[in-house]
Every structure is written in C-alpha cells, then in structure tokens.
Symmetry: C2
Subunit: 172 residues, 2 copies
C-alpha cells in the first residue's frame, strides 16, 4: 500500500487547504482587557457560504488505532469548517486541494499538536476527524445544515499513514 | 464591600445572558463520521450583527488574583461574543442583563469548569475575561472590528466576589 508521509502542521504547509488556528506570535496580536489578555486576532477565514449561518458545535471523537489507512475523503462545498482541540491532545489531518476529483498525488497528512486547530476552506477534501490517544473533544465552527453540505469520495487506492514519519512528528 | 455570590455555571442559570457551550447529553447530538464522533450540535446563537462578520481569535489571559473585586463591566452592542477554554482550567464569568445602565442588583457571577464555554448575547454587560490558576488560552468567536463594538461602565459600588461560595463551586 502506498505510504503517506505525515508532516508537522504549520501555517505555511497547510496554506493550500485553509488556516492553522494557533496563538502564533508572528500573527497579528494586541493587548485587550486592560492588558490582562493578548488577543491573537482573526486567525481563520470563516465562511458560511451563500445564505449560510455559522454555528458552533462540539465533536466528541473516538481515538483512531494506528497504523491507519485512508480509504476516503469528504468535502463541504458550501462553507468552511474549523476544528479546535479542547483536550490538548495531538490529532491527524489529511487534506487534498478542492476540485471535482481528488488528485491522489496531492493528498497530504499533518500532525497537529494539541494547541493547534485548523480551518478547512470550502470544498477542500479532507478525512473525517482523526483523534489520537483518547476520546477527545473539539470545538467546531461550520455552516448550519451540515447534512446538505457533505460529499464523500472513495479513494481508488488506499493510503497508509507513514507511522515512521508520524513518530518523528510526535516528538516535535 | 457588597459581596457577590458565585454560582456554578449551567445553561438554565446563564440563560438571561446567552448560552453555555458544553457537550451536554441533554442537548441535540447525533453521530457523524461513520459513528466515530458525536456531534453536540449548534450550541450557541452566534450573532455577527448587521453587516458584521464572525471571526475566530485566541485570547491568552493572565490569571486573576483572589479575592477579586468587580469595578466595571463592558458590553458589545453589535454582536455576540463566545469564549471556550482551551486549557481545561475553570474561569469566572460576571454578567448583567442588557440595558442602557447596569442594574447592580441583577449582576451575577458564575464559575465555569474547564469544559464549559459561554456565549454572551449582544449587549449583555460582562466583566472582561477572568482566568484562574495559570495563564490560559481561550478560543473566542466574535464580530470583526472589536474596537468599535465595546462600551465600558464603571460600577458605582464595587462588588467583592464571595470567595466562600466560590470555593464551594470549585469543588463541583
């Protein structure tokens, strides 16, 4: 089975798919609340789409077993979808560029550490949530009526997440 | 100084001010992602206001020292503002109903445990973020251009958070 290398998540690496949500000192930030808080400001392009409404939900995800093979991806063409871990635990992200079909050569995998969230741009192909280690809650910001906004695509060839690269990223 | 009792945060107690964001089995939930996740769905009334845009930010808050006196509240008349803790640590919430002035007899204080967030409805008076114990990050969902959407009001009489009630709530 073809292996898929797992990269450490960063804003630049993830840029083709959306934004990383993290308290990055390189991003715009300013003091608020009489200096008691720093505001890391406007970290993702939340997009409700035409006539859509942004909602906030919590996903309680079961952890995945490793090694993990990737057999399908999904997309939400009408709006963005953001995930922020509430557990502090790392999780995996698998994504491919938007388009009517999936270019299997452009599928990429990332390991997010527990203080990083991600926002998928509308139409970006991605694997459903991949929690690790233990049951984990995520705050999710996406468009209402999710059932009408999800398309799935089975991959012609399954991909095996490269546990060797993944183990390396886990030590970051 | 007048003491302000600190209540444990619950959806019903907080209803005059907005919503509690938590994975509450009493709320709407359903399986997603082939049963690997439970979706606790649409937990707050996010409101960008007229011509507003919802944005996501991270607030990195310094912890407050106890005992704590409350000298002012603020409001955001143009949109809602949601806070979700990313640290798993408890925090304090102080709120009063919307209105041109603050009815000091209707100010209430809540202790949120570390898996509870809150969403202030537009115009609800509230104290700026009150982190406890250690520096703590919060995911914030509010309207863009926050500088044009904040009014502050100094209280005629300061209120002292009742540390005895607070200690009780901490054990919940």
């Amino acid at each position: 089975m073809t292996k898929l290398f797992v990269e450490a998540l960063s804003r630049s690496a993830f840029a083709p798919f959306g934004e990383v949500i993290e308290a990055d000192p390189q991003q715009t930030r300013f003091a608020v609340n009489a200096g008691t808080s720093q505001r890391f400001h406007d970290l993702a392009r939340l997009d409700p789409g035409t006539d859509g409404r942004l909602i906030v939900s919590i996903f309680r995800a079961q952890p995945r077993n490793l090694p993990l093979s990737i057999a399908m991806l999904e997309r939400h063409p009408k709006g963005s979808q953001a995930f922020m871990p509430l557990s502090g635990r790392p999780f995996l992200v698998v994504a491919a560029p938007p388009g009517d079909s999936i270019d299997s050569g452009r599928i990429r995998a990332f390991l997010a550490h527990g203080q990083q969230g991600i926002n998928f741009a509308p139409g970006v192909w991605h694997h459903p949530l991949l929690a690790l280690q233990a049951e984990s809650d995520f705050l999710v910001i996406d468009r209402d009526d999710p059932a009408s906004n999800c398309e799935e695509c089975t991959l012609a060839q399954h991909l095996l997440l490269d546990t060797e690269s993944f183990a390396g990223a886990m030590t970051c």
